[in-house]
């Protein structure tokens, strides 16, 4: 196999920019995933540095460079970016394609996730959230990850793709294996299984189109008036399956973990049930401080950036935690201020690849907060149970979150 996108050995990296940093490992004593990144800054690393771990990659540590990494696709490509490098890697549509070709699938998906479109989905989001919360409210305890954070976005995926709720178990199994398994054979079979489900679904919708996302993708026509390439259709389905699950699961897990330990923050949201702007501002702040995604880019051509020599195919890791705690941009960045006045966080990225589902994700989180706090306004970390492990990698979070409350 021709390896076209493998990074070169780091001969071009000066020793002063070399740092021993492995973001796939949780250092001992780390209780919160963001500490993996904030401990780096406390150590005093160069603002752009290189680590030999995970195939070797650069890390940008400041907001200005991280947002440049997101936006400037002529230098920082989004095509074939995985860290550690894997080839061949599925070209997710449109996420793995740079502009201008990116526009084809972006234009196809964008209308289905605009604020206008998401407002139409709110009732269904509420219905699904309430169903899950009602099933656990009387128990007085739960593993929040298992009983809510993991199920809710999967349930929303079924809704978007017009699939019955009876398929929830099957799709949870597929997504859990995708995000948690480290066995290469299990992973390979899992990806084959996901693609087989998508293939069957798109074939069925081609015959009987409905008003769902899968039908919209399979019936869309390209500039020549033809159906899009079948592999691209599958890859768009694959992106929508993987992009909206683990990210939402881990974000809400981190948010609920914070709320469990902070009664005044719970009170803030309860007090603002009737003030959507304040409620959303508070949510934006929790998104800023709980940015779970580590995003990858690939250097398109040899170049010099901010005085640093970059070589074609070098990988760049863009950390939401570092961008969103940059004191040059955020006043008192380590303080969680639910009334924060200016909050240009990058939890969903910036630039042309800004998360297409961000408004849906935010609505899911806001609705979950509203419906949970209406039913379970007071809750805490269960003192009788151990808490989960910190998860790290392309998405960070916790394996379990045991909560308890008065029934």
């Amino acid at each position: 196999m021709e390896l076209r996108f493998q990074p070169s050995p780091p001969d071009h990296v000066p020793p002063e920019l070399m740092v021993d940093f492995d973001f796939f490992k949780v250092p001992p004593g780390v209780a919160d995933p963001s500490e993996i990144w904030t401990s780096l800054i406390r150590k005093g690393v160069p603002k752009i540095f290189y680590t030999p771990h995970n195939g070797g990659h650069w890390v940008f540590t400041e907001y200005a460079d991280i947002t440049d990494g997101f936006r400037n696709y002529s230098i920082f490509s989004n095509h074939q970016t995985p860290v550690p490098p894997i080839e061949p890697y599925p070209v997710m549509q449109p996420q793995g394609v740079d502009p201008p070709a990116h526009k084809v699938f972006r234009s196809l998906l964008a209308p289905m996730f605009t604020p206008i479109a998401v407002r139409e989905m709110t009732q269904e989001i509420q219905r699904r959230a309430i169903k899950l919360i009602d099933a656990i409210a009387d128990k007085g305890e739960c593993d929040f990850v298992e009983d809510f954070a993991d199920v809710f976005p999967t349930s929303m995926f079924l809704y978007l793709f017009g699939m019955p709720e009876s398929r929830l178990g099957d799709f949870r199994q597929l997504s859990q294996t995708f995000f948690r398994s480290t066995d290469p054979d299990v992973r390979a079979k899992n990806i084959t299984d996901i693609y087989a489900e998508l293939d069957a679904l798109f074939r069925e919708r081609q015959q009987n189109p409905g008003s769902d996302l899968a039908s919209a993708i399979v019936t869309a026509r390209n500039e020549a008036g033809e159906q899009h390439d079948w592999q691209d259709i599958l890859n768009a389905g694959f992106l929508l399956f993987v992009a909206g699950l683990d990210t939402v699961t881990n974000t809400i897990t981190l948010v609920w973990r914070y709320l469990a330990a902070n009664p005044e923050a719970r009170q803030f949201f309860v007090d603002n049930f009737d003030d959507p702007v304040a409620f959303q501002n508070g949510t934006e702040e929790l998104l800023r401080i709980n940015s779970v995604a580590n995003i990858f880019r690939r250097v398109a051509e040899d170049c010099e950036y901010q005085g640093v020599k970059l070589r074609r195919n070098d990988r760049i890791v863009l950390s939401g935690v570092l961008a969103n705690r940059d004191p040059k941009v955020f006043v008192d960045p380590e303080t969680i201020d639910l009334d924060r006045e200016v909050n240009v966080h990058t939890a969903f990225g910036v630039g042309p690849h800004r998360c297409v589902g961000s408004h849906l994700a935010k609505r899911e989180i806001i609705v979950a907060l509203q419906e949970w706090l209406r039913r379970i306004p007071v809750f805490q970390l269960d003192p009788n149970k151990s808490q989960g492990n910190v998860l790290t990698g392309s998405t960070m979070g916790f394996s379990t979150l045991n909560l308890s409350w008065e029934r």
């Binding site: 234009s107 605009t114 959303q280 006045e341 200016v342 910036v350």
Partner: protein, 65 residues
């Protein structure tokens, strides 16, 4: 006063619409900003400025008439 958007910079975060829906909306095709009321009254200045400062793409500008 007047507020204008650079739609080439706008990526549809919709923070302006969240913070000041009287002046900013978003379209149904790409979710990009639509300025409903470019010339806004002086008493709205603080709210419009807040929306402008919260644009993650720096796509909005205020001009004095």
């Amino acid at each position: 006063m007047k507020v204008l958007a650079n739609v080439n910079l706008c990526q549809g975060h919709a923070r302006c619409e969240d913070l000041c829906p009287q002046v900013f909306g978003t379209d149904a095709v790409e979710g990009k900003v639509v300025i409903i009321q470019p010339e806004f009254p002086d008493e709205m200045e603080a709210q419009v400025r807040l929306a402008v400062r919260n644009c993650p793409e720096g796509a909005l500008r205020i001009f004095s008439n």
